[in-house]
Amino acid sequence: MRRPVPVRPTRALALAGAAAVSMSLLAACGGDDGDKASAADAVAVTATDDSCEVAKKDLAAGKNTFKVTNKGSKVNEFEVLKPDGSILAERENIGPGTKVDFVVNLSAGAYKVLCSAGQTGKGPTQDVTVSGQANGAGDQRLTQAAAAYKAFVITNVNDTIAKTRLFVDAVKANDVAKAKELYAPSRVGWETIEPVAEKFGDIDPKVDAREADLSPAERKTWSGWHLLEKALWKDGSVKGKGKVGDQLLADLGTLKSRLPGLTLDPVNDMAAGAKELLDEVATGKVTGEEEAFSHTDLVDFKANVDGAAKVYELLKPVVQQKDPQLAKDLDENFAAVGALLKKHEKGDGYESYDKVGKDDRKELADAVNALGEPLSKLGGAVAR
């Protein structure tokens, strides 16, 4: 998992019932140095601790710049809500007395804007109506990519649940050899789509926390894969750990139940997620910290890379058109990392990472850096 950071409650996520994937491309492209061109006819929003005034309520479809001024005393948060109440886009941390430009791409429809003083997710709202046809907005290829990616996420969560079930069965039988064998495969689906799962701040710490990252108090309620990993490899027994296994399955079930309503954005979720997957590899896997006891880091490594590769594959038609050199770099570097991983294949899986020497680790780290750098440019290329 990612290093623990203060996580916001799940309400920050779009958990609407609607299965449709919305296009909030450029949703997070806010900030004072935002889009100056469209800032000319920006929509002024004045937020106070108990009000949310919008200067213009009939908006044209396409890129809209909200110029949000916080005249209140608390830190404010500005949200654009879809008709079903789920969040289309949000801009957090607007300090008292400050002003930000926040660009949101809107298609025709009825929306609400919300100002949340104190950033509780609650606050006064205003209705806005968007009409017309956005020029250039809503690239069909991106809509399709987002839909395909969502299907990919669901497939992987299903896969991880199915394999975790087998793993948990072995744990319950205290069949240590079998459980060890099933441990790494059970995590592959999870590791492939991990940034999406991390959007739900409550699930990741429950299923994928590493002991070393927890405070003494948190260790008392430690759960998930890595607890079982330690029991299997360090203690050599998972006797009485059946409950941990059941909890793991239950938490993954919760993740699965939330997926249908999930809104995934090509830039902010897909491309940023691919970059995060490589970050995971660079900080957790290359160092061997993720699987401190089982040393199955290379299995996770491969899953992370595959997850990033899937994102790229889906966005590739757009990247090839907008930045062909980037597409070329990504093709080459995904291939290079793949070839390097192949060197470490062993049986159905990979070499134990404690057997991977310093020179090989350096080689892997170099390849990950070489891929991570162009991958960090994917979002910008798609948004351009």
Partner: protein, 428 residues
Amino acid sequence: MTDAGSQEDARERTGAPAEQGGRLSRRRMLGFSGASLLVGAAAGAGLDRVASAAEEKPAAGGSIPFRGPHQAGIATPVQDRLHFASFDVTTGDRAKLVGMLKEWTAAAAAMTAGRAIGQGAVGGLAVAPPDDTGEAEGLPPSRLTLTIGFGPTLFEKDGKDRFGLKARRPAALVDLPHFPGDNLDPARSGGDIAVQACADDPQVAVHAIRNLARIGFGVVAVRWSQLGFGKTSSTTPDAQTPRNLFGFKDGTENIAGTDRALLDRHVWAAAGDGSGWMAGGSYMVARRIRMHIETWDRTSLREQEDIFGRSKGEGAPAGAAKERDTIVLARMKPDAHVRLAHPDSNGGSRILRRGYSFTDGSDGLGRLEAGLFFIAFQRDPRTGFIRIQQSLAGDAMNEYIQHVGSGIYACPPGVKEGTYWGQGLFEG
């Protein structure tokens, strides 16, 4: 009793009044550097070099021209801080390497002028990572220089001519021989390309290396790097010779960055030297020299001074009163450092030294992981560093130092407008 006695000795030799020693020299140093900028030319003979150095030296924080006949960072007055990095080329694709060198050149030109890379740290798209990493925003150029060099392995590695450059390897770019006492760590030695970043602000130097490394991902990977926090050499003879971590002034006789005749003779490679593309360039030797600080500190002052061949306070050569008094080698012990390193002991060999002190925390045994990151530029390492280092085999100082990292690099001549680093090598 003996201690007191040797202290008296030292004072006598340095000629400094007993109660003023350290304080006086520090005050003098401060006053002097101020004078060199403000009223440098006021006084008569002997100070004319002060004036010319002051003209060359931009105001604190200013910029050093990136382009010119020679690369900056060699004859340039030594800046306060160093970040040195050695890179391995990770691609076999020559075109990619050349492409990166072009990108590096543009980035180096921008950074040395105090500008950010590309669209800067905040100028780009909000959903894309910024072109520049940003930690040098708002800082002056700080006399940043970036100096590139090519290691032997770029020309040939494990018998392979990787980039079709084998035939262009200069004869002077030899593999350094093993010197007695060497304990080189391969992970801190060698490398295909080296970049020396020097600046008066450490953040500016680190920013430069960090951004070059970032641009290079996929083409090069950092093999090793070294931070240096204090200069140990001066190429401006008027300035106070800095002290190394042994507390001594070393390199008083360094080549002055303004002495064109000496530079041409000992530092700059010439067209007739064998490699046309290196004309106007220089060869850099870098050595990570660990100092055994703790045992040194337990050594008596007399022995320390004998080892160096200079007094500790003034830096005067043995038997003389002032730092720049004529050196009489015969007055020094036969194994004194200055005596063995001196041109007169090495057939007239001279090198331009540009080393920095380093301290990388401690070594796990409670000792400072500290020393000298030695950098020298010369026209030909065979008659420069190698010659001198061989004669230092009997150096009394060797008991207190160990060479633990090493590199040799061919630094091409300066970059002209419209050309890139190493263009002469790849396209000549």
